[in-house]
C-alpha cells in the first residue's frame, strides 16, 4: 500500500490565514477534524486518501490557523469554512466532520449545502435535545481529567500521547486547540440553540456515525441528532468511544465508503 503524502498549505480566507492539509489525489473530499485534530496523519485519513484527495482545513483557532476576536462560535467558523470551499473551487464534494468538526459541518450544511454531495457526521456535537436539567453532552471541563479520558475512549490505552517527545511547536498546537475549543464551545455548552431549528434545511444525503461506547454523548443523543435531519441514516460502531474513526478506523470506513460510493 502506498502511503498518501501530506501537503501543507495556507489559504487566506478574507483576511484569516487557514491551514489546509491535503492527502492523496482522487476525487476531493473535505474532512473537518475533531477539536483535538487526532485525525492528522491517522490511519483513518490515510485510508480515506486511497480513494480521495482528502482536504483537511484547520478551522480558525485550530492548528496554526488565525483566530480573530470577532469569531465566537462554531456558527461563525462554519461561514469561514464555506468561504474556504468557495475559494478552493470545491463543488459537489462529500464533507465529513468529526466531533466539533461534525458540528461545524452541520452548521455549514444548514447555511448552504449546494456544494455538498454527501454529509457524514461522526460523534458530532451541536444540538441540545433534552431539557434544561438534562445533560446531553457530558461536561468535559469540570470533571477530573482521568474521568474525561474514560468518557472519551473505549480503550484508554489509545488515548495516550507522548508529550515528552514532542517539539514545542507541536505542543503549542495542542495547547491552542484546547484553548480554542473552550473559546468557541464554553457557552452555550457544546451546542447552538438555533441549530436544531435549522437542520431541516439540509437536503444533502446524510450519514451519522456514533461510537457505541461514547461516554461524552450517548448513542441515544446521536440518534436524536440524526432524527432532526430529514432522511439521515444512523449507524453505530462497536468497541469505540467518542472518536470511533481513531479507535476503529476500518469499522468506520466500511459504512462511510458505502455511503460515499
Amino acid at each position: 500500500m502506498t502511503v498518501a503524502e501530506r501537503i501543507e498549505n495556507v489559504v487566506n480566507v478574507h483576511g484569516i490565514d487557514i491551514e489546509v492539509r491535503t492527502y492523496g489525489t482522487g476525487s476531493p473530499l473535505v474532512l473537518l477534524a475533531g477539536e483535538e485534530q487526532l485525525e492528522v496523519d491517522s490511519p483513518f485519513v490515510k485510508e480515506l486518501a486511497r480513494d480521495h484527495k482528502v482536504i483537511m482545513p484547520s478551522p480558525p483557532g485550530f492548528g496554526v490557523s488565525g483566530r480573530p476576536d470577532w469569531l465566537t462560535s462554531p456558527d461563525d467558523l462554519a461561514y469561514i469554512m464555506l468561504d474556504l470551499m468557495e475559494i478552493l473551487g470545491l463543488e459537489n464534494v462529500p464533507v465529513v466532520g468529526c466531533s466539533l468538526g461534525g458540528w461545524i459541518a452541520a452548521e455549514m450544511a444548514t447555511k448552504n449545502d449546494s456544494s455538498f454531495s454527501r454529509l457524514a457526521l461522526i460523534g458530532a456535537y451541536g444540538v441540545k435535545v433534552g431539557g434544561p436539567f438534562d445533560v446531553d453532552i457530558q461536561d468535559l471541563w469540570i470533571q477530573h481529567p482521568s474521568k474525561v479520558t474514560a468518557m472519551k475512549w473505549r480503550d484508554v490505552e489509545k488515548s495516550k500521547r507522548d508529550y515528552a517527545s514532542m517539539a514545542d511547536e507541536q505542543l503549542s498546537v495542542i495547547a491552542r486547540n484546547t484553548e480554542s475549543f473552550a473559546r468557541f464551545c464554553w457557552e452555550p455548552y457544546m451546542h447552538n440553540p438555533k441549530l436544531k431549528h435549522r437542520l431541516h434545511r439540509i437536503a444533502t444525503p446524510t450519514l451519522v456515525i456514533w461510537g457505541e461506547n461514547d461516554g461524552v454523548a450517548s448513542t441515544a443523543y446521536g440518534k436524536a441528532y440524526a432524527g432532526l435531519i430529514e432522511g439521515a441514516e444512523f449507524t453505530t460502531i462497536p468497541e469505540a468511544g467518542h472518536y470511533p474513526q481513531i479507535e476503529q478506523p476500518d469499522a468506520v470506513l466500511k459504512p462511510l465508503r458505502a455511503f460515499l460510493a
Partner: protein, 389 residues
C-alpha cells in the same frame, strides 16, 4: 504604610481532608452547617470590627462554591462594615468583574457603600482565580479582556454625571446608563487590581494610577512586579494615590512557641485542596504556560508555596510570625527586599485559628507592631508629576 486585616472567612469544619477530593467547586453543600456558618460570619465580622477599633483597615474578598471562603458576596460584608464601623478604610479585593454579568450593578453597589461609609471605600477589581470560571460560567479564555472592559465601563459610570450614556462593548451592552447614587469620593474611589506574573497588566494598572496588589509570592518576584509597577506609575489623582500592596500570612503572639503554633494554623490556607481541572481551566493562562503544563513543569499558578516548611515561607516573606518586635523586623526586611510598598495586607486568620487567638494577634499587631512600621515611607513612583513636586 497602611495595614489591613484580612481573612478569607473559611469554613474549616470539614471531614478529614484526605477523605475529600476537593475543597472547591464541587464540594457538596450538605457539608455546610448553616448554624456553624452563622457563628462564623458573625465572628469574622466581629474580628474586622476589632481591627477597625484598633486603627487597622479592613480587607474583604469573595470566592464561590468553596469551603476556603464563605464570603460569597463581598459587597454584603462591606456594606455591613460600612455601617458598623466608622474609622478604618474598607477594601473589596476584589469585585470579580470578569465573572459578573453586569458591571453597572457593581458600580451601583460600590457607590452605595462609598456613600454609607462616607468615603471609606477602596474598590478592587479582579480577573478571578482559575476555579471561579466554573461557578460563574465565564469563558476562561477571555477573563483579562472582560476585566478591563468592565473597569472602563464602571469608571465612566461613576464619573459621567450629565445624564445617560449607552455602551456597546465586546462583552456588555447597556442602554441609558445613569448611576444613582454616584460615589462619595471624587472623582471616584481608589481602584485596586491584582496580579501575579503578567507585567503588561501591572504596568497598565500603574499607568492608570491604580493600586497594585499581589499575594503570597516569593520576595524576589514581588520586587520584580513592584519595580515594574513603579517604572510605569502615573498619578491620575485618585484618592489614596496608587501604590503597591502585598499580602503575607501574619501572626503576632506573646511567645515564640505560640507564634509558631499560630503560623502553622495559618498554613491551612496554603494547603487547600483542589482538583487539577479547577487549577488550570482551558485558556486561562497563555499557550506558552500550557506548553509547560503538557511537559509537566507547570501545574497552575498557586502551587509555588504549597507544601513548604514554615522556615522557607518566613524567609520568602510569605509567612510573618513572632513576637511583636520580631514581626516588625520581618516587615521592615520585606519592605527593603521589595523596594518598599504602601499597603500591608495581612491574612491574620485562616483555617481553624480560633477567634481568641485571632483577636490577640490583631491586638498585638495594632498596638505594638503597627507603630513601628506605620511611618515607613510611601514608595516613590517614578513619574513626571511626582518628580516635579
Amino acid at each position: 504604610m497602611y495595614a489591613w486585616h484580612f481573612t478569607e472567612m473559611p469554613y474549616p469544619n470539614l471531614p478529614p481532608l484526605d477523605t475529600l477530593p476537593t475543597m472547591r467547586v464541587s464540594i457538596p453543600s450538605k457539608l455546610f452547617d448553616p448554624k456553624i456558618g452563622a457563628d462564623l460570619y458573625n465572628r469574622y465580622l466581629d474580628e474586622h470590627m476589632l481591627a477597625d477599633e484598633l486603627g487597622l483597615n479592613m480587607l474583604l474578598n469573595e470566592h464561590h462554591q468553596t469551603a476556603t471562603c464563605i464570603n460569597a458576596c463581598a459587597p454584603l460584608t462591606a456594606a455591613i462594615l460600612a455601617r458598623q464601623t466608622s474609622k478604618g478604610r474598607i477594601c473589596i479585593l476584589g469585585n470579580p468583574i470578569a465573572n459578573r454579568q453586569d458591571p453597572i450593578r457593581i458600580a451601583e453597589e460600590m457607590a452605595m457603600i462609598d456613600c454609607i461609609s462616607r468615603g471609606r471605600l477602596d474598590v478592587g477589581f479582579v480577573r478571578g482565580v482559575p476555579y471561579e470560571v466554573f461557578a460563574a460560567n465565564s469563558n476562561p479564555t477571555q477573563t483579562v479582556e472582560r476585566l478591563w472592559e468592565g473597569i472602563d465601563l464602571v469608571s465612566k459610570a461613576w464619573t459621567h454625571t450629565e445624564g445617560p450614556f449607552n455602551f456597546e462593548g465586546q462583552f456588555t451592552h447597556k442602554r441609558a446608563i445613569n448611576l444613582w447614587p454616584r460615589p462619595y469620593q471624587t472623582p471616584h474611589p481608589a481602584i485596586w487590581i491584582t496580579g501575579s506574573s503578567d507585567l503588561g497588566n501591572i504596568k497598565r494598572a500603574a499607568a492608570r494610577g491604580f493600586v497594585f496588589a499581589t499575594f503570597l509570592q516569593p520576595h524576589e518576584k514581588v520586587k520584580w512586579m513592584f519595580d515594574g509597577y513603579r517604572s510605569a506609575y502615573n498619578d491620575t489623582g485618585l484618592p489614596g494615590g496608587g501604590g503597591t500592596a502585598y499580602m503575607p500570612l501574619v501572626y503576632t503572639a506573646d511567645s515564640d512557641a505560640e507564634a509558631e503554633a499560630g503560623a502553622r494554623e495559618l498554613c491551612w490556607y496554603l494547603d487547600a485542596k483542589s482538583e487539577p481541572q479547577y487549577r488550570n481551566p482551558p485558556g486561562y493562562v497563555p499557550v506558552e504556560f500550557n506548553v509547560q503544563a503538557l511537559k509537566g513543569t507547570f501545574t497552575g499558578r498557586t502551587d509555588a508555596m504549597r507544601k513548604q516548611s514554615i522556615e522557607f515561607l518566613k524567609d520568602q516573606g510569605v509567612l510573618i510570625y513572632g513576637k511583636p518586635d520580631d514581626v516588625a523586623k520581618q516587615i521592615k526586611r520585606l519592605y527593603d527586599l521589595v523596594g518598599g510598598f504602601d499597603h500591608l495586607l495581612m491574612m491574620q486568620q485562616a483555617g481553624h485559628l480560633s477567634t481568641e487567638r485571632t483577636k490577640r494577634s490583631i491586638s498585638l499587631f495594632a498596638k505594638e507592631v503597627y507603630p513601628q512600621v506605620q511611618d515607613l515611607a510611601r514608595t516613590r513612583p517614578l513619574n513626571a508629576r511626582v518628580a516635579a513636586e
